[in-house]
């Protein structure tokens, strides 16, 4: 397939295609991205051919110091907040479950940094990162994960259903692929309302099959909806390797069959993700239709829960379906230090300021944990509420 670049090639050429800085200045670095044609976007197919080959890397150039610092902060928030959950859970007695996002932070932050607050996101079972990047409150999120009465969803939903409608968060969703369809529906609603909002649907590599994605994609393409589908290809569906269940290597290619532009990006490179996301967002806002963006990445922990992991240590080792070696290679591509090196080299942050940010985020996370811990549990009878807007449903125990 023309233009196809797989992960091996990405590995082979980090200095031109990634944000690993080799003492190039920020502008030079960005120019070098421009020189390879399409920023850090490696594959492009689909209808919007004019866009192909155009440099879109100017988006990165116009990010302010505040924005770049916020991106770094948000990545840390995701990392440290989820790591806290892991440590609390391994300690025992944790009132909840979680699918950790650690290792994939660059995607959520790269994408959500390209959004306005009034834009929407539809999220997945692995969605804490998306919500944090969209502005989710760490306290209310942790209270929800531990099913407390004052959590985002009053303890009804837990990890899989955190939602904050005021931030345009259409909710996490425990059914794989549903985020795409709900998101495309919301994008249709935007057209009816006549605003210039956009919707981002996040989904894993597993989310493009099944009945949801196809319906979302066809309608988004036909009606030119302001819909951006982010495929977080972390290469596994639980333990099933992506390459064993698809006839295509780059999942963005699926978009082509609908007449949607598909792009592939290094999902561990927050600026590359931002770059292509911003392009897609501007395009959608201008009424030029949807984009599917595949972000290649890797999850550090097990699909679900904390097997193979330890308090105070990053990553889950000894899992049957992947080698520790493979994990270590990906941990070496950790998006956070990679971005930090870039920020320091580009003089956006000093080492000292970068350390301070880490300390600040740690404090925020500790505060969230203390908050959640102190919150009351829901009342038993409340489960009978909120089935309908009004009233309680009857109990049938006697």
């Amino acid at each position: 397939m023309n233009g196809e670049v797989n992960m091996n090639e990405i590995k082979a050429a980090p200095s031109t295609s990634g944000t690993d800085p080799k003492a190039v200045s920020r502008r030079t670095f960005i120019q070098s991205l421009g020189a390879i044609g399409v920023g850090a976007i490696f594959f492009s197919a689909g209808a919007d051919k004019q866009a192909r080959g155009q440099s879109v890397s100017t988006y990165i150039d116009s990010l302010s110091t505040e924005q770049l610092t916020a991106m770094y902060t948000d990545m840390l928030k995701i990392r440290l907040w989820e790591t806290k959950i892991k440590d609390l859970a391994l300690k025992g007695g944790f009132r909840g479950v979680a699918h950790l996002y650690v290792g994939e932070e660059a995607i959520a932050v790269g994408v959500c940094s390209a959004l306005r607050q009034d834009d929407y996101i539809a999220s997945t079972h692995r969605g804490h990162g998306h919500l944090i990047a969209k502005g989710g409150d760490l306290k209310l999120m942790l209270a929800e994960i531990t099913h407390k009465a004052t959590g985002y969803c009053k303890g009804y939903g837990g990890s899989l259903h955190i939602t904050d409608m005021s931030l345009g968060i259409l909710g996490m969703n425990g059914i794989v692929g549903a985020s795409h369809l709900m998101g495309a529906g919301a994008a249709y609603g935007i057209k009816v309302k006549g605003t210039d909002q956009v919707v981002v649907s996040f989904g894993g590599d597993g989310s493009i099959q099944g009945s949801f994605f196809t319906s979302a994609a066809n309608s988004a393409a036909t009606y030119k909806l302001p819909w951006i589908s982010i495929i977080e290809n972390n290469q596994f569906q639980i333990w099933v390797r992506c390459s064993d269940v698809y006839g295509i290597k780059d999942l963005a290619r699926r978009a082509d069959g609908y007449g949607i532009e598909g792009r592939v990006v290094d999902g561990n490179d927050v600026l590359a993700v931002y770059d292509v996301a911003k392009y897609a967002v501007e395009k959608a806002r201008a009424g030029r239709g949807p984009t599917v963006i595949e972000c290649k990445t890797y999850r550090w922990y097990d699909h679900y829960g904390f097997q193979g992991s330890k308090i105070g240590r990053d990553g889950a080792f000894g899992l049957g379906y992947r080698s520790d070696q493979e994990l270590r290679e990906w941990m070496a591509k950790d998006p956070i230090p990679r971005f930090r090196r870039f920020l320091v080299n580009e003089k956006v942050l000093t080492e000292e300021r970068a350390d301070e940010v880490v300390q600040e985020v740690k404090q925020t996370v500790d505060d969230a944990a203390a908050f959640a811990e102190a919150q009351p549990v829901p009342k038993a009878v409340d489960g009978l509420l909120n089935v309908f807007a009004e009233g309680a449903v009857p109990l049938h125990k006697s």
């Binding site: 609603g189 319906s215 909120n386 089935v387």
Partner: protein, 323 residues
């Protein structure tokens, strides 16, 4: 000629689309257009294609799209064809019915699933003459289910469904026109409000949609035979609590509950009604008439034999009252 069921439904939607400038209809090929007398309704012509939009053959889009829109405040009606009732079922189950609860009341899908339903017609067979799927929806938590048996109720229930903040499934069987004239202006038939079609004291008969035609005939014939039947059309199938109040009051009076369904026997909607009445009013006699637990065969000889008709209702009622 009175307004047809279809015209009445479209008139309800038209009125609400005029009131709510965002209300949108997603559909497949069932054009939202109808004529009555000298008048006509054409929702696409009146409101534009964005608000009355046909799609590919894709019921998951129609329902899923409506869900997504309604979540951001664009109320939506998803109109699906009759042979596809169960294709978007999971969307109604795991999403529509659950979102409010899962989010502790924070988010909801104020959408309407306008589900075309099949009857027991000949020459259709297998996948095109099924019935009774309303009870598939009535069983799902968080959904309201309404089922009109005449154009007046159809319009009033559709208006109620649209104005409701909870997701509502509007089950639309083709039923020969009967009942009161349909006013041009919007009005509501409240969800949960049952209709006692005929008052009586010897036996309670419950049924809805196409079976109301058979029951109405049977009630007349029973009267001629000296049996006074109370005929109740539930109109709402979920939540059922309020409906059961009326039915239980009647059953306490008559001591006998006969139900008649076009759906297959097992788990047809009247199963739930009988089971609730059995708990509430011990000593009642029950009879549940229904289509057998079989797919619908195409040949008229076979399917007509299987479907419950007025004569069967009369026989069963007489046996219960006299036997």
């Amino acid at each position: 000629m009175p307004k047809s069921m279809r015209y009445a439904i479209l008139e309800a939607i038209q009125g609400e689309m005029r009131r709510d400038k965002l209300l949108t209809l997603l559909y497949e090929y069932q054009r939202p257009a109808a004529r009555w007398g000298g008048r006509s309704i054409n929702l696409e012509a009146e409101f534009g294609r964005w608000r009355a939009r046909f799609s590919a053959i894709d019921e998951n889009w129609i329902v899923g799209g409506a869900l997504g829109m309604s979540m951001i405040g664009v109320r939506a009606i998803a109109h699906i064809p009759s042979m596809t009732t169960l294709i978007p079922y999971e969307l109604m189950f795991n999403h529509a019915g659950k979102l409010r609860h899962m989010t502790g009341g924070q988010a909801a899908f104020p959408m309407i699933l306008w589900a075309d339903m099949q009857g027991r017609a000949s020459f259709q067979a297998g996948q095109h003459a099924d019935a009774g799927l309303e009870s598939c929806y009535a069983r799902l938590a968080g959904l309201k289910v309404v089922i009109p048996s005449n154009p007046y109720d159809a319009k009033g229930l559709m208006v109620s469904a649209i104005r409701d903040v909870d997701p509502v499934v509007f089950c639309h069987y083709s039923v020969p026109t009967s009942g009161p004239d349909v006013p041009d202006e919007p009005y509501t038939v409240p969800i949960g409000q049952t209709a006692v079609r005929t008052e009586g004291k010897d036996i309670t008969i419950v049924g809805y949609a196409p079976q109301t035609v058979e029951i109405a005939k049977a009630v007349k014939q029973l009267k001629q035979r000296g049996i006074s039947a109370e005929f109740i059309d539930p109109r709402t199938l979920a939540p059922l609590e309020q409906v059961m109040e009326t039915i239980i009051k009647s059953v306490k009076k008559t001591g006998k509950l006969l139900t008649s369904d076009d759906g297959s026997y097992s788990f047809c909607n009247c199963t739930e009604i009988i089971a609730r009445a059995a708990e509430a009013v011990p000593g009642t006699k029950f009879k549940r008439l229904a289509f057998p637990d079989a797919p619908p065969p195409g040949a008229p000889e076979m399917i007509n034999y299987m479907r419950v008709g007025a004569a069967d209702i009369v026989t069963a009622a007489e046996k219960m009252v006299r036997g």
